[in-house]
Subunit: 131 residues, 2 copies
DNA sequence: TTAAACCTTCCAGCAGGTGGAAGGTCAAGC
DNA sequence: GCTTGACCTTCCACCTGCTGGAAGGTTTAA
């Protein structure tokens, strides 16, 4: 199977598939003409990676999950721990963004938004001594 | 004023201050020995940028806000629009992350997390035909 | 034979800096 | 006068996760 067929099957681009290869995530064979040839194991790994990335895992986390997928001796506790950790990170990010949204909301409320230059938003960003 | 003093005053690192200069956000003078010399305008601009970044604006947005800060003829409607737009983006991000958190939570719940290799998380990532 | 649609490698760039190397300068203490 | 340490300078590379494009080779079909 050539790369564009694999791209179609996995939802990844050919570029991304080659990139994952440079990272050592897959290792397809080569045909006589130099073209990469993919087997079902490669396709499965790439599908796994695509889903892990889509779920929100980083590439390094996805690599770890792929390692666990490929390891029949894995302990599910290990997998769960990884996901739990990710969940905590995501919750932290949500809290961070919610605080940001509140700040922005306060700014929008405080600014009259007309043709005049006076602007509470600019004032807040300019002056730390603001009440 | 030398760069490390400015770093202290603004909460930015010297590296970042130099980086902002390469972006054209500030343009400090040079002393005879080649050292950068900062005036109060530079410090104010950098403080403005630091606050804009801390509030969550990207560098490009911060640059726009700085432009508006420096422009006495600005219309506050313009500023407000920019912030409103950012707020919408942040809310989108929050929704995205909340969906992610739900997926992850579902995974954590579904995985027994013991010494056995069987793991619902791995299964979900491996198999799209999962119910 | 030629055109389109593949495939290959390599180089550069996005955000927003950060780290480090290699070197010049300045102030204080001996 | 010399050394030490804390400054300062420039430049280049790296981080994430790709993406775009250039320049070229291959295959397929008309």
């Amino acid at each position: 199977m050539n790369i564009s067929e694999v791209a179609r099957l996995t939802g990844l681009t050919s570029k991304t598939i080659r990139y994952y290869e440079t990272l050592g995530l897959i290792d397809p064979d080569r045909a006589a003409n130099g073209y990469r040839t993919y087997g079902s194991e490669d396709v499965e790994a790439l599908q796994f990676l695509q889903r892990a990335r889509a779920t929100g895992f980083g590439l390094d986390e996805s690599r770890q999950l792929l390692g666990l997928y490929r390891e029949p001796q894995r302990h599910s506790a290990h997998v769960r721990e990884l996901v739990q950790h990710k969940l905590e990170q995501v919750n932290e990010q949500i809290n961070h963004l919610q605080a940001m949204a509140q700040t922005l909301q306060g700014m929008v409320k405080a600014c009259r938004g007309d043709d005049a230059p006076d602007c509470a938003i600019i004032d807040r960003l300019a002056d730390s001594e603001r009440k």
